[in-house]
């Protein structure tokens, strides 16, 4: 059962002061409403992963790691590798997160990322086939939210894109008799082929105001959000409205425009980090 989340009780005075600042065009940390906080990345933080990156978006921290293993393709997609995206909000990341399997928020986040990557054909899954119909590369992309200070989805997409861009396919040999695949992860030759970069820009609505990249405090009073994934070509490659509120048609059009602009910036940034 999906359940109305408990809305954190924010003292009236604090609420008013946030609304006041936002209505003047600023975040509570004095950024303009459409500016992201500073973004830092640490690459290869988990050397046992085949690729890993820690993304810090303000105080939000997201750790993305990839394992690449040999496995079977999906029966309805015998000529493609497999991408599996999972996300988990670890209980360390917020006093309100509980230990246990991923909840609906983590599942939704992972599925939005998965769909945006898949539908945009961001990575060339068709180049991950080892023996057609039998053996392909399986990419396990795991997202761990370590510290929650708002805007987890945008941070997670930055981390996912960057982890994929850094992934190197291991060297392998196929035994011509048995068809067994011998993998040697100590040698890596080819990079994972990236078709295009993607960014997700989530536009939040606080009162009548639209903004991006809220802190957790701001996010808690947003009535709704619209996550828009955009490709480097300027196409829309995924959308998801979340939250208890609604959007007017005009607001959606504004959100699209914002996402196309900010998405371009984020993609530039990720490409720079990927070098």
């Amino acid at each position: 059962m999906s359940l109305t989340p408990e809305i954190p009780v924010i003292p009236k005075i604090k609420l008013d002061s946030i609304l006041n600042v936002v209505s003047k065009g600023f975040h509570i940390d004095k950024r303009p409403l459409l500016n992201y906080r500073s973004i830092e990345v640490n690459k290869n933080v988990a050397p046992n992963a085949d690729s890993s990156v820690l993304v810090k978006l303000g105080h939000t921290q997201v750790l993305v790691g990839i394992k690449i293993d040999v496995g079977q393709p999906f029966p309805d997609n015998p000529e493609e590798g497999v991408l599996i995206v999972n996300a988990e909000y670890i209980p360390a990341a917020s006093p309100s997160f509980e230990p246990g399997p991923p909840d609906e928020n983590a599942i939704e986040l992972a599925r939005v990322i998965d769909r945006s990557l898949r539908e945009s054909k961001a990575i060339a899954l068709n180049k991950l086939v080892i023996i057609p119909g039998k053996k392909v590369w399986i990419i396990w992309l795991d997202i761990y939210v370590l510290d929650h200070d708002g805007n987890l989805l945008d941070a997670s997409m930055i981390g996912s894109m960057l982890a994929l861009a850094q992934l190197k396919i291991p060297y392998f040999e196929v035994d011509p008799v048995t068809g067994n695949v011998k993998v040697d992860k100590s040698k890596r030759i080819t990079s994972l082929p990236i078709n295009r970069y993607i960014a997700t820009v989530t536009v939040y609505k606080i009162g009548d105001v639209l903004l991006v990249d809220p802190t957790a405090e701001e996010e808690a009073i947003a009535s709704a959000s619209l996550s828009i994934s955009v490709s480097e070509e300027g196409n829309i490659v995924g959308m998801q409205k979340r939250g208890l509120g609604f959007f007017l048609e005009k607001e959606i059009e504004q959100a699209i425009e914002i996402s196309l602009n900010k998405g371009k910036e984020l993609i530039e940034l990720v490409k720079k980090f990927a070098l």
Binding site: S2, L3, T4, I107, E108, I236, F247, E249
Partner: protein, 241 residues
């Protein structure tokens, strides 16, 4: 084995004979269950979805209750034989978990939850047969079931998908169009108030295509909205008579 993609638009007609802007045939029945406080069955083309509502009622377990509002609990589920292909395991899939949330959040803006502090409103959406558009049919059915249960709402919520198949923006995708099309975009709205309460995009659209698709969806929503109101009128007028 994935079949090779069929041609989805031939001479301007879709695979089931519709034009791009046509809805499938729709049937809405209200009050189909005795025990539930409200219920509705929505058929749209080959898709058949049952929604049932209980509430406002006491919250069990107690710790879920909220002091200033009713909580809404929602479960979307596909019956084991409702899909093509093999039997679906009854364990909830990640897709079902996501859609339960998406449907709840599509309905939340319409429900006057503040009128029932410490109560629960439970919504069960059961997909009996799946031929595309089960989540949107589920939202359409659930909002009728909420009305049937007498839950006060700002407006009904109505939903339909739009998408792009063979390059054409079309309304109300069926299963084949969803599977082989370029984009699928389910949308829900409170039609009188022009408030959009759910939007998802699965696929690729240019900004212009998006605008066109959104407009088409809102047109389709208006048509289905009339059918929802008619179905409710029919039940309640019949009762009054």
């Amino acid at each position: 084995m994935k079949l090779s993609k069929p041609q989805l638009i031939v001479n301007g007609k879709r695979i089931d004979g519709r034009g791009p802007q046509d809805l499938r045939q729709i049937k809405i029945e209200v009050g189909v269950l005795k025990n539930a406080d409200g219920s509705a069955l929505v058929e749209i083309g080959g898709t058949k979805v049952l929604a049932a509502v209980y509430g406002p009622r006491e919250v069990v377990p107690r710790h879920q209750e909220q002091v200033d509002r009713a909580i809404i609990r929602c479960r979307y589920r596909m019956l084991s034989f409702s899909t093509l292909g093999e039997r679906k395991s009854p364990a909830p899939t990640r897709r079902e978990i996501e859609l339960s949330k998406v449907i709840r959040e599509a309905l939340e803006p319409a429900v006057l939850s503040m009128q029932f502090p410490r109560a629960a409103i439970d919504i069960f959406v059961e997909v009996i047969n799946a031929d595309g558009g089960t989540r949107t049919a589920g939202i359409t059915a659930a909002s009728v079931a909420l009305a049937d249960a007498g839950i006060p709402m700002l407006d009904l919520v109505t939903a339909v998908a739009v998408g792009k198949v063979d390059g054409v923006i079309v309304l109300d995708l069926n299963e084949i169009e969803d599977m082989y099309g370029e984009a699928d975009m389910p949308i829900a709205a409170m039609p009188s108030l022009k408030r959009i309460t759910m939007i998802q995009l699965n696929g690729v659209l240019t900004p212009d295509e998006f605008k066109k698709a959104l407009a088409l969806a809102l047109e389709g929503i208006d048509k289905i909205y009339q059918l929802q109101k008619e179905a409710l009128r029919k039940k309640y007028v019949e009762i009054e008579e």
